[in-house]
Amino acid sequence: MLLKGSEAIVRALADEGVRDIFGLPGGVVIPLYDALYESKINHYLVRHEQAAAHAADGYARATGRTGVCIATSGPGATNLVTGIANAYMDSTPMVAITGQVRSGLIGTDGFQEADITGITQPIVKHSYLIKDPNDIPRIFREAFYIAASGRPGPVVIDIPVDMQLAEIDYQRPERVNLPGYKPTLKGNRKQVKAAAKLIVAAERPVIYAGGGVVSSGAEKELRQLAKLVQAPVTTTLMGLGTFPETDRLSLGMLGMHGTGYANYAVTHSDLLVAVGARFDDRVTGKLATFAREAKKIHIDLDPAEISKNVAIDVPIVGDARNVLRDLIAEIKKLKPSKQRTRPWLKQIDDWKQSHPLTYKELKRDIMPQFVVEEIYRVTRGKAVIVTEVGQNQMWAALFYQHTKGRNFISSGGLVTMGFGFPASIGAKVGRPRDIVIDIAGDGSFQMNIQELATAVNYEIPVIVAILNNGYLGMVRQWQELFWNKRYSETCIDCQPDFARLAEAYGALGITVTDKKDVAEALETAIAAKRPAVLDFRVRREENVFPMVPAGKSITEMIGGQK
């Protein structure tokens, strides 16, 4: 069928099943926006392109469907960069479409020209600069395939304006032909057998689950495995919810701000089963002492992650769900004993007693942890929790009981302040029936606060719960603990009245200064069914504990002891 390039793009998006897009137009994408004008695809106009990328990212994490964002050339495209890097670090499937100056102008420093494929090269899974309009159908087909398959990630498509204007014959290619891209999805049988043997023989096993369990949809299998061999499960920030924290076998999160019992369990384990996790330095602490008594099994889609940081005894490359299924079948053949780990679970219960997650309650002051607990209570743990970055992020991770994957959305790898609010908009667009709450810091929220206009514009009722401490709190905490309380440039108590600012945008705004009003504010915001900002004035110099100082062993925790 003969179509203009821009129409072919919109057609290709529809063929890929795209329903929602986030973006902001400019000169060289006017043809594309013209083609979108009458399309069935919903376009959400953001107020800053960074937010378009984060919204697409949040959308993808909440739904499992590839997120799409659009920006114009030059500054529009460079505004996407942080969002693309964020998606890359957390392996989110995303397609970022950028306009480019007309092909004849490329390389001449033309008006609003930026080499976006060059700029983003180290932070994309792949990228394309379209030089022949006839390539549009193939490139879009490939881009969506690459973004979502294997270890997911962002793909950039840069489209010069003349490519959007040219006429082409649109035909969706039936299959992709990428000779250099063949992800291994099925685990090697011999390796699976070897892993099964180790697992049934272990007396002190720990399963360590990460974001790969979310992206492969392996939650059910993870739970089956844990139950089958009675092994406790700890998750990374990215893996929160993949194993229900309400279960006795749950250890919660591990690492720098992990629970004491998770860190002790990992350190004393005799077998560590890593599933879709990548031994990040925030998880391992000092490598030399990390789980050094344990044999290690590592299940991951990305062969490059295996033995990258920690030497692995039994590597299994494959999709977590496939591998876990095979592994469970193999273990069942070996008739595992459920009694074997009894003493180990008893030991873990003792650690839970001696190192509980707690904080000191005050009479009227609002403790940030309390707000998080109230959010859990009021939503009965059913909300989609999105976070900003800093202390708020860690409290949201620790004091909410996560029970489902895709219900906790946080910037884990790049750790981007300003991610949470636009990501929550994306999450709500993707899952309109769920309550979506962005647990925010006063600093982070101000990095994309302009998106209040987007939320109000499209009536996207997300709730921003600011744990307002008037500080760049996490940095202040490091200064308090390791830099002699020299609070260099971390006090941000010169700030707007967030509630009134929200009202100015047309959203609901509530300021909460007393502990007894926390629940009511949450209930009001949920009932209002419109965008809401809750400004919780929390205890200003509260710290996140436990904490492992950078580079120390994960049992060398500050705080968190009874």
Partner: protein, 159 residues
């Protein structure tokens, strides 16, 4: 140990930059790099030498594999590989030293491409070690300029 990676890539714009960018981003050093088309015009071959002592070679190859345009990587086994490098060497020479340089060239089977009043240009093909040895012998004469191609290599036998 030096590793010679023979990397088949799709012959598309930007591929060299992706490969080079990956090395710098991951903190790997490239000792030498040679690129050319293969018997299949859609496919190019990059021959990359890296120091395995400095970087775990497995990480290098696994990361390279993740580039969509990289089709195949072989870490060539030195025993089963013939490797060559080409160098052009401009060396100072005058009537007095010319004979000695020509003698050295003959021993190394180097060709003399140019003779000028004060310099000569030698062409040598061989292993890295052989070229280094020649350069060492020429050093006392005064080496003015060296141009080296980087190593290319191919496996022996039918494979």
């Amino acid at each position: 140990m030096k590793h010679t990676l023979s990397v088949l890539v799709e012959n598309k714009p930007g591929v060299l930059s992706r490969v080079a960018g990956l090395f710098s981003r991951r903190g790997f050093n490239i000792d030498s790099l040679a690129v050319g088309v293969t018997e299949n015009p859609d496919v190019s071959r990059m021959t990359i030498t890296v120091d395995g002592k400095e970087h775990p070679i497995e990480q290098v190859t696994k990361q390279l594999h993740k580039l969509i345009n990289v089709i195949k990587i072989t870490d060539l086994d030195p025993v089963n590989t013939v490797a060559r490098e080409l160098a052009l060497i401009k060396v100072k020479s005058d009537a007095g030293s010319r004979g000695e340089i020509m003698q050295i060239a003959e021993i190394f089977r180097a060709n003399i491409l140019d003779v000028a009043r004060n310099t000569m240009v030698l062409e040598i093909t061989g292993t890295t070690e052989k070229i280094d040895a020649l350069l060492q012998l020429l050093a006392p004469q005064g080496v003015v300029e060296i141009v080296r191609t980087g190593r290319i290599a191919i496996e022996r036998g039918a494979k």
